[in-house]
Subunit: 328 residues, 2 copies
Amino acid sequence: MSHASRTAALPDFAAVLAAAARIAPHARLTPILRDEALNARSSTTLHFKAEHLQRGGAFKFRGACNAVWALPDASAARGVLTHSSGNHGAALALAAASRGIPAHVVVPEGAVRAKLALIETAGATVHRCAPTLAAREAACIELTQTLGTTLIHPYENSAVIAGQGTAALELLHVLPDLDALVVPVGGGGLAAGSALTLRAIAPRCELILAEPAGAADAAASLRSGTRVTALTPDTICDGLRATLGAPNFALLREAGAKVITVGDDETRAAMRLLWQHLKQMVEPSSATVLAAVLQQRARFAGRRVGLILSGGNVDLDAIAFCARCGTG
Amino acid sequence: MSHASRTAALPDFAAVLAAAARIAPHARLTPILRDEALNARSSTTLHFKAEHLQRGGAFKFRGACNAVWALPDASAARGVLTHSSGNHGAALALAAASRGIPAHVVVPEGAVRAKLALIETAGATVHRCAPTLAAREAACIELTQTLGTTLIHPYENSAVIAGQGTAALELLHVLPDLDALVVPVGGGGLAAGSALTLRAIAPRCELILAEPAGAADAAASLRSGTRVTALTPDTICDGLRATLGAPNFALLREAGAKVITVGDDETRAAMRLLWQHLKQMVEPSSATVLAAVLQQRARFAGRRVGLILSGGNVDLDAIAFCARCGTG
């Protein structure tokens, strides 16, 4: 695939390297975790990049931090804005705080309380709106026009994609000979950023995307060669309900990324294994990567597999394994 | 307190140092974890020694490993035995496997499945018996007489106590100026081992024991000066239901250890905070240490506090925060 086939808007590996330098003073170099019981169960060697231990509890801080620090001083001073009520909202709030600039987050009524609390604790101004796309867009337009804030899209923004690519960069720096890297895919920020890194420094490492069966637009898009945007997501993986972004689709298609779709039951079982054996509190989106490996044991057997645990912001009020009422 | 006042059976700091050398090839040097949100909430600096990431998922491996490797070859070859169906059982099984000797664990009917699975996975022979003390003792006596195995008591054994002291040793090696160390107390192996270490290398560091209000025999014993053995435990902290051992009592009394008793509700709230902020899956017993600090904020404010997270073998079938049925 020639460089010329990309549009000017797509980030490249140089942008990932620049992001790594830019975020180094602020982001955590997260550990890589392993567990013998999980290796035995999967007949592979699993290396988990622990992004749930990143600031804000998710890899999202990497992209948000890169986007915030890449802004020129004048626009930075007017602040940044997003309408993500999930991990990107909290990440952008923390990133803005690291530069000492204002952050605004438009949050629809009904957002998960735990994630809202993270956003507020980080010092962002929360703007509530009705839970419709129209209300959200109207609120964003108003804030942009009145305050001059810069909208940082959670996964289509070039600097965000480049920033997310630094997780795979850190992992491959320690383990340059991975045979496969499995990352969750929702909007595709982490997936596309990982694709940039892999192609540059580990071209023989297979990129595999784990996607919930109830939100399998990336699988449909990559299979058909056209971005599918009409699906209505239905999955417990609240971090993976977004539709694959346009630049993300272009980068993943170019990279030849493969998708494994996993059912919510498989994700729940994998999450339980991660809680039990790795002793790490990861959210459902994170568990899709282990679910994918366990679904296709033969494909991964004997290979060195990297997996990105994307986040740990579990909604403890909603996720439970309850012996009494059977929830779980 | 003079050295002469101790009985010959009590371990000393030299035994802790010997244990550290003995277990080094087998045990994990566990990380020390911190979280800004928990620091803010407690107005202290909290340093969590992550023993839930120790082999077998609990600090228990330290003591069991030391006891197993301290045995002479001839008795080691005949194997080791315990009647703990909890973390010590799994730890002894793993320790025996590390030396290539047999392990026997007498397990009463009704033991937690997850812990039983750990014991079996580690390769120990499980001997089921009726859930009474008499049945358990009869099974142990028979195994000792027929097979010549060595019984390794979960917390009164000297080598076990010395081994447990290595967790505090590692923590103080990194943080020699801690003002207080908070550890959970059940049978008192970890508590007594920590006391040996503190008195030798950090005599100004206060030793504080966190104990469930529903199993507060250590508090009663240290208050009255006589070991209280008649309490019937009632607490969610399944690792802390044992009665304080005799040598453990002697060592803790000598060390002037203080006890903070915490209710199960406080422990549950603290466990939730550890899951949410530290992203670590710790079991209820581990959470007592944070519960103790949060109960007595003024006492700890502004101090450098070490806390030992004792284990992470959560019974996922029994512990739940369930929005649907209200369990939690």
